[in-house]
């Protein structure tokens, strides 16, 4: 365990040299706590999503929404409400800067057969059923922007769970379009989208 934590501090030190604002008060404690579930290089680990390469503003917003208990699905309640309870906005910001600078790897864990359908749905939506394109907000390569998260390469299991939970009414206080959009997706559409996105680099 000591070796595990030490290696994490070494990574932090490397990043800290590149991001000056991190050097001082960034507690190793919060990084250490993250790695237990999100993996030592923040690539995610079932059930926790990959954080590496995530948009900084999105990560900050999520951390604050755990604190405010507005992000309220079962795993959030069980793990993240406690983990984020004592994070100051400043620490949340520094953590988010650190995580956004880590290179993301694609999970590649979806169903290959569904990727093509998922891609069409991601890019064009389904105008006949009034489902909008995902790409217009999340980017042509699912890279995200500002407070809109990067989706490319996230785990199939995480994406599927999140998309399903929107439809079940979790996180209803989130920024406007998502609850409504995801609530309209059929289980098959969610399968296809989550599969496609898990392969996007």
């Amino acid at each position: 365990m000591i070796k595990f934590v030490t290696s994490k501090i070494a990574v932090l030190a490397l990043v800290a040299s590149a991001v000056p604002s991190l050097a001082g008060n960034m507690e190793t404690v919060s990084i250490k706590n993250c790695t237990w579930c999100h993996g030592t290089s923040a690539q995610g680990y079932e059930p926790a999503p990959r954080l590496a390469g995530q948009r900084q503003q999105y990560t900050v917003n999520q951390l604050l929404s755990f604190r405010k208990h507005t992000r309220d699905n079962p795993f959030s309640k069980q793990y993240m409400w406690g983990a984020a309870a004592n994070l100051s906005p400043n620490t949340a910001r520094e953590l988010a800067i650190y995580l956004s600078a880590l290179p993301p790897k694609a999970a590649n864990d979806g169903d290959n057969q569904l990727a093509a359908i998922g891609r069409t749905l991601y890019e064009e939506g389904n105008p006949d059923s009034n489902t909008v394109s995902c790409a217009v907000c999340h980017g042509p390569n699912a890279e995200g922007i500002r407070q809109i998260p990067r989706l490319g390469g996230l785990s199939y299991y995480y994406l599927k769970r999140k998309l399903t939970q929107w439809g079940e009414g979790y996180h209803a206080a989130a920024e406007r379009p998502m609850p409504r959009i995801a609530g309209k997706l059929s289980p098959n559409e969610i399968e296809a989208l989550a599969s496609y996105l898990s392969f996007v680099k």
Binding site: E123, P127, N130, T131, A135, V136, C137, I145, I148, I181
Partner: protein
């Protein structure tokens, strides 16, 4: 000069250096826009022929409402625009003729945008007009977000143009309050980053079908003659117009 029958008496019109016989049967509207520039009267531009209105079917209130919600998901609940990965333009208060023409342009390939192509291709003409009317009647406050310090310079360009580089006053066509007219769009309250993106890429996105020159040709030389910082200034100014 384009070839045509010798006895063809349809008037010749010039659009961006190309001569065309003015279509008679499909012509819906001729809008003459004369700008007293130093050089010349710009052009007489005709709108591309309207899609065959064979699909005049009734649109139920329920179907229309679902489609309105579809549009609003990206363009904002009151059509005020929204910033996703791309800035999605304000539709509220837009001229119905412009709105309708753009939807057809996406479908016909005159305006290149793959997202709007798929969004618009299944819309009937009745639905297009119903949506145009719905969004015309909305009047939310501008979304804002433009750098206010550029607005003064933008106002000057908007009202006076830039004589040295042949940029006409925007208000000559778009109106003193930037409300637009017919196929010329309202700019008031438009997202400044959307405006910037469109004007910088004008010749790559609009007027993309040489067989169907459309009203976007009017804007081409002006988009070309404006510098990026001048566009940013105009966009900041109109972005706050109500």
């Amino acid at each position: 000069m384009r070839s045509g029958r010798a006895d063809d008496r349809r008037p010749l019109i010039n659009v961006m250096g190309f001569w065309y016989r003015q279509p008679i049967l499909r012509l819906m509207k001729v809008s003459c826009i004369q700008l007293a520039l130093q050089t010349a009267i710009l052009a007489i531009v005709f709108s591309a022929g309207r899609a065959e209105d064979t699909d005049r079917v009734r649109v139920s209130t329920q179907t229309l409402q679902a489609k309105i919600e579809y549009c609003e998901t990206c363009h904002g609940v009151s059509g005020q625009g929204y910033r996703g990965f791309f800035p999605m333009p304000r539709l509220a208060g837009q001229q119905t003729e412009y709105f309708e023409n753009q939807l057809r342009a996406f479908v016909e390939g005159r305006r290149q945008n793959k997202y709007m192509h798929s969004a618009a291709r299944g819309l009937s003409s009745t639905m297009r007009m119903a949506l145009a009317t719905h969004f015309r009647d909305l009047n939310p406050k501008p979304l804002g977000g433009a750098p206010r310090n550029l607005a003064a310079m933008g106002k000057k360009i908007y009202e006076d143009g830039i004589p040295e580089t042949n940029v006409p006053a925007c208000m000559a066509c778009h109106g003193g309050e930037a409300k637009g007219q017919k196929e010329i769009p309202r700019l008031a309250g438009q997202l400044n980053d959307y405006m910037l993106n469109k004007l910088v890429n004008w010749n790559k996105e609009r007027g993309q079908d040489p067989a169907k020159p459309d009203i976007s040709a009017i804007m081409l030389p002006t988009a070309h003659n404006l510098t990026k910082s001048q566009i940013a200034a105009v966009a900041a100014y109109v972005g706050y117009q109500q």
